[in-house]
């Protein structure tokens, strides 16, 4: 395929992915908006007013960046996991496999589709949050960079999950038992400076902590961890996981007999 044809193939796949999640918007775009509105009302307004300040900010202002990031992570991941697995399950993945489209285009198409949903939901949740607080952004470029990279990283994660999955249960195990606990313990609702030293050390092993903190730094200008390190770690994870996913795809893992 020449460059023009490759670009058409990639755009076709991305557009197809966007059409998929917008077609089923009551399943994909509406639920996170409602859930996050509940978080803002209950944790931000009702309970948050009794908690007081967190790292020098109102509790509502503190949790908004974390909740936006949580939506981006879960939606990026689940979009690719469910879409790719559904393609495997319905065998429509064969449409792509018989075509001359290179594997990196297939992988990138699904990742960009996952990012479109993750970032789309992120924008919706940000807009919902504006009903509850006035958002300010200390470092807009850094905020955008970190959310885009995080969305890419978890889209790749969802792809690998779907490649390895044999049944629909297999694509809900990771989000339920790994992603959700790591997100909740990743400093979305609290600053790790509140924790005893030992648990602060344990928290530092949680990669989601770094993403939430850098994202919050972009909004508020405060972070529990060094921003440069966090960005480097996210970028390194993306390179490693993209390579792993591509090798698995080249070998036909889970899709070729």
């Amino acid at each position: 395929m020449n460059a023009g044809q490759t670009l058409i193939a990639l755009w076709t796949l991305v557009l197809k992915e966007i059409k998929r999640f917008t077609r089923i918007w009551p399943q994909t775009l509406l639920p996170p908006s409602i859930t996050m509105a509940m978080y803002f009302i209950i944790f931000g307004n009702l309970i948050g007013s009794r908690i007081g300040d967190m790292d020098g900010f109102s509790y509502m202002d503190f949790i908004v960046p974390g909740l936006i990031m949580m939506s981006v992570i879960t939606n990026s991941y689940s979009n690719v996991a469910s879409s790719f697995f559904s393609n495997k399950f319905q065998r429509s993945i064969e449409e792509m496999m018989v075509s001359p489209m290179p594997n990196w285009v297939i992988l990138s198409g699904f990742i960009l589709g996952g990012m479109a949903r993750g970032l789309g939901v992120g924008i919706i949740v940000t807009m919902v949050s504006l009903f509850f607080t006035r958002l300010t952004m200390e470092h807009p470029l850094l905020t955008i960079l970190v959310v885009v990279l995080t969305s890419a990283l978890f889209s790749i994660g969802g792809f690998i999950n779907a490649l390895l999955a044999n049944k629909f249960d297999d694509i809900s195990i990771v989000p339920t038992f790994i992603l959700t606990p790591l997100t909740y313990l990743g400093g979305v609702f609290y600053s790790i400076s509140m924790l005893p030293d030992f648990w602060q050390g344990v928290s530092m092993l949680n990669p989601i902590l770094y993403m939430v903190n850098v994202f919050r730094y972009g909004f508020l200008g405060v972070s529990d961890i060094p921003v440069g390190w966090a960005l480097a770690a996210i970028f390194a994870f993306i390179v490693v996981l993209f390579s792993v996913a591509l090798v698995m795809l080249e070998r036909g893992k889970g899709i070729r007999s």
Binding site: S92, E95, S99, P100
Partner: protein
């Protein structure tokens, strides 16, 4: 001579569980041919085609499509290839038009280029009116035609049809035959067809390979195969019931119903002799037809013979290895 549309050499496939689906097959399909690949379930037809279109990874051997080795430039080879699989493999929740346009996009065709092509193919296959409907709302026959339209979007020179008319009613099957004949004859598209309807292969195809138990047991022209047919069975309908089976010297007659006989005719025997003898016995024939499709008789006897050989071999061996049937079971 032009490169074969498809050339397979020593193709072997051993699945992860040890089942050998293909045992080093060689096969050539010439450009412009209408070729039938026949064989019983689990014989290796779909595995062979799966390797050709990259859905199955081969263990050994080589495959070239119009002279392009798939190990060297599979992407280029794939441009020559259109695939209509045995099972529906499109997203049932997508619109008909979106499905064919997306497939064109995967081959690098812009929407501007693909849309007129989609309109022409969907119109030819009677689906244009359904273009904005969800694919899951289509009937079984329409879904099959949708897969044919999808496979032809990028104008492939080799079209692989894996049981394209399975579950399709007779009228629709005939119209699909016409369509396939047209793209083979008018557009010069080489077609490889697998089918269980041997009448289909006899009616459409010029050449045939019979695959059984991972080996090609026969590869010849349909005409040659039919010329080798030694016997043919006819069903004879009688005007009046007969009390006992009439006897005709040199022919095997069996009574199936009070007014129906089966007649086995060997090569060189004359049907006139039967009619004369029946007439002399006061038996009036009102109609006669083939009991089964001629190719089907040949196919059954060939596969039966081949399987009998395999069974004999297994009976001789005392290794206690599991049978192919068990292997197939565990593979599925």
């Amino acid at each position: 001579m032009a490169e074969p549309a498809l050339s397979i050499r020593g193709l072997t496939k051993v699945y992860a569980n040890g089942f050998q689906a293909l045992k080093g097959i060689d096969l050539d399909v010439q450009q412009g041919d209408f070729f039938a690949l026949l064989g019983p379930n689990g014989a290796g037809k779909s595995t062979t085609l799966g390797v050709v279109c990259s859905l199955v990874q081969k263990t050994a051997g080589s495959v070239s499509i119009f002279g392009i080795d798939i190990d060297k430039d599979f992407a280029k080879a794939k441009y020559q290839l259109g695939v209509v699989p045995q099972e529906f493999n499109f997203n049932q929740f997508e619109k008909v038009l979106d499905i064919v346009l997306a497939q064109a996009g995967y081959y690098g065709m812009s929407t501007r280029e693909a849309l007129p092509r989609a309109q022409q193919l969907l119109t030819d296959l009677g689906l244009w009116e359904k273009r904005d409907g969800n694919a899951r709302m289509l009937s079984g026959g329409m879904k099959r035609r949708l897969m044919i339209a999808r496979a032809l979007m990028h104008r492939p020179r080799l079209l692989i049809l894996d049981e394209p008319t399975a579950g399709v009613d007779i009228e629709l099957r005939r119209s699909m035959w016409e369509y396939m004949r047209r793209i083979n004859q008018d557009e010069g598209t080489t077609i490889i067809l697998t089918t269980h309807y041997l009448e289909e292969a006899e009616s459409l195809c010029r050449n045939v390979a019979i695959i059984n138990d991972g080996d090609i047991v026969r590869n010849t022209s349909v005409r040659q195969l039919l010329a080798e047919l030694d016997t043919e069975t006819f069903l004879i309908d009688l005007a009046e019931p007969v009390a006992e089976t009439p006897h005709v010297e040199g022919f095997e007659l069996h009574q199936l119903e009070p007014t129906q006989l089966s007649l086995l005719v060997h090569r060189g025997q004359r049907l006139n002799d039967v009619f004369n003898a029946l007439s002399e016995q006061g038996v009036q024939v009102v109609s006669m037809r083939n009991r089964a499709n001629r190719l089907e008789e040949m196919f059954v006897s060939m596969v039966k013979g081949s399987n009998q050989g395999a069974i004999d071999q297994r009976a001789d061996a005392s290794s206690g290895e599991s049978s192919d049937a068990e292997n197939r079971e565990s593979r599925s």
